[in-house]
Structures are given as structure tokens and as C-alpha cells.
């Protein structure tokens, strides 16, 4: 399973008005560290199926959402809980870093 792909069109509906925990990886194709994050984000979407919606957003194609959330560095991962931002991490954190973030939000840490 691969991560959900969000866009400016559906971000409001699927994330901001959504329920539960959603993790979004803001990335671009030309960013080296983003290339390292991509397969890990896909793995996490599988491992946390049913618990966390793991998705990604191409910052080039979706400047509206990227601007609204003040993303100024990629990769940046933002975790939302019931539509509210609860965690944010800039720079590639390795799988362990992302798992830590998810666990914190799920209260498993």
C-alpha cells in the first residue's frame, strides 16, 4: 500500500475537516532527502493502517495548502488530530523519527 496523495482540492475536506490522526509529508521531486523519506512514508501507511492516515503532498503542485501551513522547508511532516495540527518535524528524520512522532500523537510513547 502506498501513501494517500493529497491536493489543494481535497486537503480541506480530507485533513482539516477530517477525524482521527492524519500525517502529511510535504515533499518535492527535486529534493534529495524527500527521496529517502518517500519509501518510509509508504511503509508507515501500511504499518499504521486503520490507526493513522499517512499521506503526502507535492509542494510544487499544491502551493495554496503549502503556503497556508507555512511550509518553508522540505521534507516537513505535519501530524493532524481531528483536523488540528499537533506535531511538525522538518528535515528527514529517518523511520525511527517518524515512528516516534506517530507514537507521541497516538499516546503510545
Amino acid at each position: 500500500m502506498t501513501a494517500v496523495i493529497f491536493s489543494d482540492k481535497d486537503f480541506e475536506e480530507k485533513v482539516v475537516k477530517g477525524k482521527g490522526v492524519v500525517m502529511v509529508d510535504f515533499y518535492a521531486d527535486w529534493c534529495g532527502p524527500c527521496k529517502l523519506a518517500a519509501p518510509i512514508i509508504d511503509e508507515l501507511s501500511e504499518e499504521y493502517k486503520g490507526k493513522v492516515v499517512v499521506g503526502k503532498m507535492d509542494v510544487d503542485a499544491n502551493q495554496q495548502t503549502t503556503g497556508k501551513f507555512g511550509i518553508m522547508s522540505i521534507p516537513t511532516v505535519v501530524v493532524f488530530k481531528d483536523g488540528k495540527e499537533v506535531e511538525r518535524m522538518s528535515g528527514f528524520a529517518g523511520k525511527e523519527g517518524y515512528v516516534k512522532l506517530i507514537k507521541k500523537v497516538l499516546g503510545e510513547a
Binding site: 518535492a28 527535486w30 529534493c31 534529495g32 532527502p33 524527500c34 527521496k35 529517502l36 509542494v59 510544487d60 507555512g70 511550509i71 518553508m72 522547508s73 522540505i74 521534507p75 516537513t76 511538525r88 518535524m89 522538518s90 528535515g91 528527514f92 528524520a93 529517518g94 523511520k95 525511527e96 523519527g97
Partner: protein, 308 residues
């Protein structure tokens, strides 16, 4: 299971060592770290890698190198090494939950960027404070960006930013740049870049994002605040040798000391432990020199293992 060879690190030195060791049928295990690929993962086009006339993108070069090593039988594990014990044989290396053992080890952990440590830097990281200009430059369209540093990394960052930003300032604490001549020339010819000589970053200011920076002229002592949208740190690197302290001989700056003498140039103070790349090299620090040393380390390890 005791392996023949463990390579710690995954920059040009580590991957090149892996290509050579794999071709020598040593079945090397590469502990590549969580952030595999090394410093070139944060760069754009690399123009000085021989054999690539049009330049090659840093991340692509590293992914290719990795695949090349895997093709010949290197095993890759993307885990961070947390501890080593080089005092007994086989050598022991801790990564994740596992302890790996090997008869020989190549240390190619490279160097990591140094943060300035000034107030505000940590708090605003990802909100205007950045370490990868190639990644983040497009967010600074028509904005004002400052690059801190004077080496090749700083100059490359400044040039990358000019494609998007309105104004780019290079803040350097000396009165000349360390960067290579071709890069310095490009900076001086670029009208968007202004250089603040003899100037040091003192503080990054802003509430939710970077708004200003405070700098100090180290000749006059004068301090001033400048309006800024972005601060890119390219001050320098330090060798990643924390876990080797008290085991391998390091120089005063923390670089691993190797024999530097033929016929076993990359040998550390411990027989069977070799080191290559930016973890050793305080002088050249190039992808191609790191790759060359990685090759030497693999050949040294191969010879050492044959003699056991």
C-alpha cells in the same frame, strides 16, 4: 554470525568501499544509517564528478552508487550505528536492536553540518532557518535570504537561492571566501548576491517564522538587525566520530588518524579497522577523494583479511 567486513557509512567513501569489497567477494554489510547517502543527498547538480560532462544530481549519484554496490552483493541496512567495540575480536557494532560482528571494519561515517548555536536557530528550524538550500530555495520566491558561511557549500546555497529569492546575502566571518575559484567567480558576477565580510550571526529573531537576524561586524564590533525571511546555515562540518572516542586515535579536531603510509594507507591505530572519506580528511573533502579513499580502504581490508 561473524562477517568478514562491516562498512559504517553510506557517502561516496562507504559506497565505493562497498563496491570494491563486494567485487572482492567479501559480502560486506553496509550500515548505511537512517539518513543514507551522505552529504550529496542535500545538493543539486554535482559538476566535478569525473565522467559526467553535463553534471549529475547529487541524490541520483548516491542512489546509483548504492545500487551498484548491491548489484555486486553488498548488503544494505539503513540503521544508525549507536556503539562499537573495537577492543576485541571479532569487532562488534551495535545498530538498532542488533549486534553485528566482523573481522574487519571500515569507518566511513563522514561529517555532519555544524549548527551555529545562536539563540533562535533551533526554535525556527524549518520556519525560515534551513540547512538545505537546494531543497528549500523555491520557498523563498521574491524574499530576502541570508546564507551563513564562506565555503563551497555556502556559495552553492547562495547561487541556488538566486534563482528564486529577491536578494541573497552571504554572511562570512572572514574577508575572503574559502570556496573554489569557479564558485567564487560565479558569486561575484551574480548581481543578486551581496557579501557581508567580517560578519558573524548572533541571533535569529521571529515569532512563528524568521523575521530578522542580528549580526555583528567583528572588526568594528558593531551589531545590527537585518530584515530576513530565510537563514541558511552552511558554516561547516565536523567529523562524525563521537562513538569512536577512546577507541580510535583522533586528531585534535576529531578526525580519525590513519597511517597515510604505503602499503596500508587507510589503517587506523587498530589493525583490521580502516577509515576513509570526510571522517579522516580535513583537507580535500571532495566526493571524488572520498570515493578514492573508500576504494583504498576496501583494498586494505581485503589484503588484511587474506593475511589472517
Amino acid at each position: 554470525m561473524v562477517r568478514k567486513l562491516i562498512i559504517i557509512g553510506s557517502g561516496p567513501a562507504g559506497y565505493t568501499a562497498a563496491v570494491y569489497a563486494a567485487r572482492a567477494e567479501l559480502k560486506p554489510l553496509v550500515l548505511a544509517g537512517e539518513k543514507s547517502g551522505g552529504q550529496l543527498m542535500n545538493t543539486g547538480a554535482v559538476e566535478n564528478w569525473p565522467g559526467t560532462k553535463e553534471g549529475v544530481m547529487g541524490p541520483e549519484l548516491m542512489i546509483e552508487m548504492r545500487q551498484q554496490a548491491v548489484k555486486f552483493g553488498a548488503e544494505m541496512v539503513d540503521k544508525q550505528v549507536t556503539k562499537v567495540d573495537l577492543s576485541q575480536r571479532p569487532f562488534k557494532v551495535w545498530a538498532g536492536e542488533e549486534i553485528y560482528e566482523a573481522e574487519a571494519v571500515i569507518v566511513a561515517t563522514g561529517a555532519e553540518s555544524v549548527m551555529s548555536g545562536v539563540p533562535g536557530e533551533k526554535e525556527l528550524l524549518g520556519r525560515g532557518v534551513a540547512t538545505c538550500a537546494v531543497c528549500d530555495a523555491p520557498f523563498y520566491r521574491d524574499k530576502v535570504a541570508y546564507v551563513i558561511g564562506g565555503g563551497d557549500a555556502a556559495v552553492e546555497d547562495a547561487l541556488a537561492l538566486t534563482k528564486h529569492a529577491k536578494e541573497v546575502y552571504l554572511v562570512h566571518r572572514r574577508d575572503e571566501l574559502r570556496a573554489s575559484k569557479i564558485m567564487v567567480k560565479r558569486v561575484k558576477e551574480n548581481e543578486k548576491i551581496k557579501i557581508l565580510w567580517n560578519t558573524e550571526l548572533k541571533e535569529v529573531l521571529g515569532k512563528d517564522k524568521v523575521e530578522k537576524i542580528k549580526v555583528r561586524d567583528n572588526q568594528s564590533g558593531e551589531e545590527k538587525e537585518l530584515v530576513a525571511d530565510g537563514v541558511f546555515l552552511a558554516i561547516g562540518h565536523k567529523p562524525a566520530t563521537e562513538m569512536f572516542k577512546n577507541q580510535l586515535t583522533l586528531d585534535e579536531k576529531g578526525y580519525i588518524k590513519i597511517s597515510m603510509e604505503y602499503p596500508i594507507v587507510t589503517q587506523t591505530n587498530i589493525q583490521g579497522v580502516f577509515a576513509a572519506g570526510d571522517v579522516v580528511d580535513y583537507r580535500y573533502k571532495q566526493a571524488v577523494t572520498a570515493a578514492g579513499m573508500g576504494c583504498q580502504a576496501a583494498l586494505d581490508a581485503e589484503k588484511y583479511l587474506e593475511q589472517q
